[in-house]
Every structure is written in structure tokens, then in C-alpha cells.
Amino acid sequence: MNNSTQPNNFISDEKKLRQKRRERADSRFHWYGLTALGLALAFLVFFFVDIIGQAVPAFYQTEVKVNIHYVEAAKTNYNKAVDHKLRRVVSRAWLRTLPVYLKRHPELIGNNIKQWVPADSRVDQYIKQHNGHGLKSKYQRIVDAMAEEGRIRQVFNIRFFTSGDSKLPENAGIFSAAVGSIFTLLITMLIAVPIGVMTAIYLEEFSEDNHFTRIIEVNINNLAAIPSILYGLLGLAIFINFAGVPRSSALAGGLTLALMTLPIIIIATRAALQSVPSSIREAAFGLGASRWQTTWHHVLPLAMPGILTGSIIGLAQAMGETAPLLIVGMVAYVPDAPDNILEAATVLPAQIYTWAGESLRAYEERTAAAILVLLTVLLSLNGLAVYLRKHFERRW
């Protein structure tokens, strides 16, 4: 080796220059990364601030104190229960329940009671000073006068959590959608988790590595990536048209979402099973355990945290899904909460979709509030998944 003829690369000026260049590239890269992260954070913060800012007013509902005339005529025409000029100020959703209420409480007839009742959504939006409230100037003057007399107040909007969808925004809530989501998700869980886990166990622990299983593997990986709306078409064809499951029911939706979630659970479970070291299996086999005993007693418990995490993430994804449900008829106007899995139901994301398309201004804040509720549920689900992984995972 003839080193002496070569310049010493490790102390020359050229080297220093090169090192400087490398360091500059290094710090540039560092900044690119930081900028990307900063941008992503900025989007996230903007989104949350925007959604929360829009959603907060939805949790308050304006009420007005008016004279309610409990007269005989109100039994057939509820408009008779309030002064003519207040007809557009009082919520019609509340007014129209009067006839039934009067029939149940006939002793009220003949009374004139000053009471707090929910206000119409336009009045509500006007009081909240939102653009596009849509309240005519004639009524604006009435409402202004009422506000001066202290006959207007804002209360917690409990209806948002206890009532279903409504065409009158002041009466619209997420209850029926939430119940529908729970039913749908339960079915998805009951179908997708056992089938997915069993499939993964079979593929990972029992099957031989041949062409057939390899084709299945490739297919499962592909299925996890296809657009979810295709599962909707599949669900429509198999469950509704062939098996006769009622359209729009939580059962139809749950089964369809189960199809969509299956590949995710299978892939997550297989990864969890693969992470269990083979020494565990060998030790079990060495003591004479059968394949099933090995899996059931040793491998599965060790893989459980991973399986649970994968399943929860799969279910969270199913919970936020609308596209396949559109096809099986779950994006519909369903104000009553379903009593069982065969009745028509809708789900939270579908409710958000429906409200986002409504023209009245009051739905805007309700859309944001529903998004907030859905996000909270999804974040808790993902948080649970993270907790389970951190708490129970074992490393080798």
C-alpha cells in the first residue's frame, strides 16, 4: 500500500469542505422534517379549534318564556296554543306534542300558563348571532323585545343526546345514531373477531405452507386495501338480496362492516402470533403438548395484547365508515332508535353526513358537535388499544 502519495483525506481542506456540506445537508433534513411535522400539527390544531369552536354552541339551546293557552282548540290545531305572532318563535317540535299531552292531561284545559319552552332554530341562531340565521326582521324585533324583558335564556341542550334525527334542528340529536352505531359495531365484533382470529391461527399455526395457503394470504392482504364501498356492494348482494336481511338494519350494516374488518384483524393477529418466539412452541411440543394445546395454552395468551390492539383498531375503522353503509341503506332518515338488530338504523358518521347536507344554519353546529362526539369515541378506542399494548405486551 502506498499511502504517502495520496493526500490525507482525513485532515485536508477538501475534507473539511465535504464535512461542512454533509452537516448542512443534515441540518437541512432536520428542518424539512420539523416543517413537515409543524404543518401536520398546524392542520390538526386548526381542525380541532375549528370543529370545537363550531360545536360548542350546539350544546346550548335557546328557550323562550311565553304564554301557553291550554285551550280545547289546541287539541286539533296546536298553533292555537300560542299567540299568532309567536308561532315562528316557539319550536314547532315542542308545539306539535301538545295535542297528545292535552289528551293525557285534560285538567289543564282552560289554563293560561307562562312557561319556558324551546325556541325555534332560527330564533336560536339569531340569539347566537350566527350569520344566515334566516329569522325575518319582523320576528327579529319580537325576539329583541323578549330579550329585553328577560324572556330568553340558554340552557344545556340535553335533547342533542336524548333524541334522534329531526327535520327541526332544535329537536335533532344523535341518540338514534349512537344506538345504531353500538348495535352495528357489536355485530361486526361478534362476527369479525372470532372468524378473523381463528383464520389467522389456522394460517399461522396449523396450515402447511403450500400454494393454496399462499394464494389465500395474498388475497387477504389485497382485501385489506380495496375501497370500502365495494364491501357495501358485496353486502347488498349477499346479505340483503340473497339472505334476505332487512335493508338498513344494524344486522345488514354490521355484517357488511365485518367483511371489511376481517382482513385487518387477520393481518394483525398473524403479526401478533408471529411475534411469539418459536422457542415457546418448541418447549410445549417438547413436553408432549398437541398443536392445539400449544396454541391455546401458550401462544394465544402471549399474542393476546397484539390481537386485541389489532381488533380494536379494525373496529374503530369500521365505526367511522359510511361508504359501504350507504349501499346497504343505512344512510337514511331514521329518527327512532332501533329496538333490535333487524330494525332500520343509522350510525354516527351517517348522521354527520346527513346533517352536513342540510340547508338550515342550525345543522352546521350540530354537524360539528356530532363530529366531536365521534372523534372522542374513536380517540378513546385508539387510546384503549395503545394502553393494552403498553400494559400487556411482552418483549423478547
Binding site: K167, P194, A243, P246, L255, Y333
Partner: protein
């Protein structure tokens, strides 16, 4: 453990197979047009909250999608009522008959109309549907009608010398809107369906609106369009008819083929930018699902579709009084539509 799982799974699948047999339903199912949807679901809600019946489920599938579901058969898995913003087609009727949906009652609930409006201070303008098409379509026929070209018109008098030298600027609903659908149907599809140069170019229902800034999609908020029209006095705006009526102090309507939009001109059909809204009842379900007639009667009630009804409040143009009575009697005697009916009109 394994055995229990196997039994559970088997039970699930058996259960699935039997669900189709359970044919009882106590909740009305309604599908169909997104234009009728607001009125239909409003009525559904009123039925649910003021009577003992469950609130009907209303799904907005579009008129065509609704017909397809409605005509699929008589099973309890098919809808009881379908809404439509156009009449049932004879092909759809035949499909219904083939699938055993024999007895269908047709009801008209009201009208849907579109107004072309401008600032009240601007000189009156009269347009034809064809002129409107030439103003808003992305592609229009060349002067000799041989090929389709990108829309070259920027002033109304370029379309027709009779019209004023006035900039074409049209504020209208965005693609998500039902009014936009109606506009595309009545102006674009209606005109291009039988226009040779469009058909030759392979368009049966041409409905692309130009995107070079002449047509300005303005959000669902009609208030905003009104405000823009008062400032931009050369511009036109497209509204659902009900909105024009509420803002007559600021805007006035362009006449279409010489007719101004008004309840009377919509009702007698002389104002061309309007259409009837329908719903269809499957008679075989009336005895099986409780509340169908109650729903239909409530919908046809003066309280809903009358001149001062609640549906009029949310944008329905009421039928004339005698038409309302006419369709009420249809409903009362459950008149069936026949194939001959489609030959008329």
C-alpha cells in the same frame, strides 16, 4: 371451548338464513327522490311524533333508485312508498308489473320550481330555456351546429341579438344541491336530449355546466346570492322558487319564454322551469304495514301541502286547491295507475 364456538357459528348462520322468512314490519319504508325527501321526512317525523305509529324511515335514493327498489317485488324487504321528482316511466311500470307489484297509486304532492332572478333595479329580461342553455353549458353547438365547441359566449347579445349587451354572470347552486339537479334537468338535459349535435357527439343527457367563471357556484346559502345580486346588478341568480317569494323587495324574476314564475303559472304549467313531485304507494303493503294510509293522508292534509302548509314553509309549491282535492280523492279510493295512463301527457 372449540365445540361451543362451532355451535355458536352454526347458530349465527342458521339465524341469518331464517331472517329472510320473518316478514313482519311495523315501520313504513320510504325511498326515492332527494327533492321530495325534505317534505317526505318532515311528514314522517310529524306522523311519528303526533300519532302512535312509528316514524317512517325515509331514504334519499334519487327518483330512479327509488323506483328500482320499489318495483323489486312485494316482499316486506321492499319499500312501501317511493317519492319521485318526475313521473314513473312506462318501462318502470312494466318492471313493477313483471315483479308482481300490480296495484300502485300515484299521488302528486306539489311542485318544485326554479326562478332566474336579478336585482330589482335591473331592466327586465326575458329568456328562453335554449338561451339559458347556451349561456351556462360547458359545450355548445358551433354557429353552423356541426360540432360542439367550448362555450364562447360572454355577453347575452352574442347568444341572441334580441338580448341586451349585458355580461353573462350567473350565480347558482353548487353540485351538491337539489336545485342544481333540477336546473340541470330542466335546462340542460331537457334541451340536449333531442338536439342532434349533442347526440352526434355521444351525449344523451348533456349536463356539464361551464367552469370558466361565468357560472359562479355560490354555496347552499341563498341569502348570499341575494346579497350578491343587489351588488352585481348585471348578474342573474338561480334559486328554488320559494326563495324568490321571500325576497321580492330586493330581487325580481326573469320571465322564461314570456312567463313570470308565480304559483299560478307554475300550477297551470305555463312557467316551464317547474316540475311535479310525486309519490307512489304499493297497495299490497297497505294491510301489512300499519300507518301507510295515515302517512299519505297526513302528507295530503292542508296542514302539510296547503297554501299555508308546513311543507310550503320549507319550499314546496302547493298544488291548486282543486288538484289537491283531486289527488285526495285518488288516495281515498286508491286509484290504480294503468299502462294507458302513460300515453297521456
Amino acid at each position: 371451548m372449540k365445540k361451543q364456538y362451532a355451535i355458536l357459528m352454526a347458530a349465527t348462520f342458521l339465524g341469518l338464513a331464517f331472517i329472510g322468512q320473518a316478514e313482519a314490519r311495523d315501520q313504513i319504508r320510504i325511498v326515492g327522490s332527494s327533492t321530495v325527501y325534505p317534505f317526505s321526512s318532515y311528514t314522517a317525523e310529524t306522523l311519528g311524533s303526533t300519532t302512535k305509529f312509528k316514524t317512517p324511515v325515509v331514504e334519499s335514493t334519487g327518483s330512479g333508485g327509488g323506483m328500482k327498489l320499489f318495483c323489486a317485488g312485494n316482499g316486506m324487504n321492499t319499500p312501501d312508498i317511493t317519492n319521485a321528482s318526475r313521473r314513473m316511466k312506462s318501462t318502470e311500470y312494466k318492471k313493477c308489473q313483471e315483479n308482481g307489484v300490480k296495484d300502485i297509486t300515484e299521488i302528486v304532492v306539489g311542485y318544485d320550481g326554479i326562478a332566474i332572478a336579478q336585482s330589482k333595479t335591473t331592466a327586465a329580461i326575458n329568456l328562453t330555456r335554449k338561451e339559458l342553455l347556451l349561456a351556462v353549458a360547458a359545450k355548445v353547438p358551433s354557429k353552423d351546429e356541426s360540432v360542439l365547441v367550448n362555450n364562447p359566449y360572454y355577453y347575452w347579445n352574442e347568444i341572441n341579438a334580441r338580448l341586451p349587451h349585458r355580461k353573462i354572470a350567473i350565480y347558482g347552486p353548487p353540485t351538491s344541491s337539489g336545485t342544481r339537479d333540477a336546473f340541470e334537468d330542466m335546462i340542460l338535459k331537457h334541451n340536449t336530449k333531442h338536439w342532434k349535435v349533442y347526440n352526434d357527439a355521444g351525449f344523451k343527457h348533456f349536463h356539464a355546466i361551464r367552469q370558466d367563471g361565468v357560472y359562479i357556484p355560490s354555496g347552499e346559502n341563498d341569502n348570499l346570492i341575494v346579497r350578491k345580486l343587489t351588488k352585481d346588478t348585471a348578474a342573474l341568480g338561480i334559486f328554488g322558487y320559494s326563495y324568490l317569494a321571500e325576497n321580492t323587495d330586493k330581487i325580481s324574476a326573469a320571465t322564461i319564454e314570456g312567463v313570470a314564475p308565480a304559483p299560478e303559472t307554475v300550477q297551470d304549467g305555463s312557467y316551464k322551469l317547474s316540475r311535479s313531485l310525486y309519490f307512489y304507494i304499493k297497495q299490497s303493503h297497505i294491510k301489512k304495514v300499519p300507518g301507510i294510509l295515515e302517512y299519505a293522508n297526513l302528507f295530503m292534509n292542508e296542514r302539510m301541502i296547503g297554501d299555508e302548509g308546513e311543507c310550503a314553509d320549507i319550499g314546496l309549491i302547493p298544488l291548486p286547491k282543486e288538484m289537491r282535492d283531486h289527488y285526495r280523492s285518488h288516495l281515498k279510493s286508491l286509484v290504480r295507475i294503468k299502462l294507458e295512463d302513460f300515453a297521456k301527457k
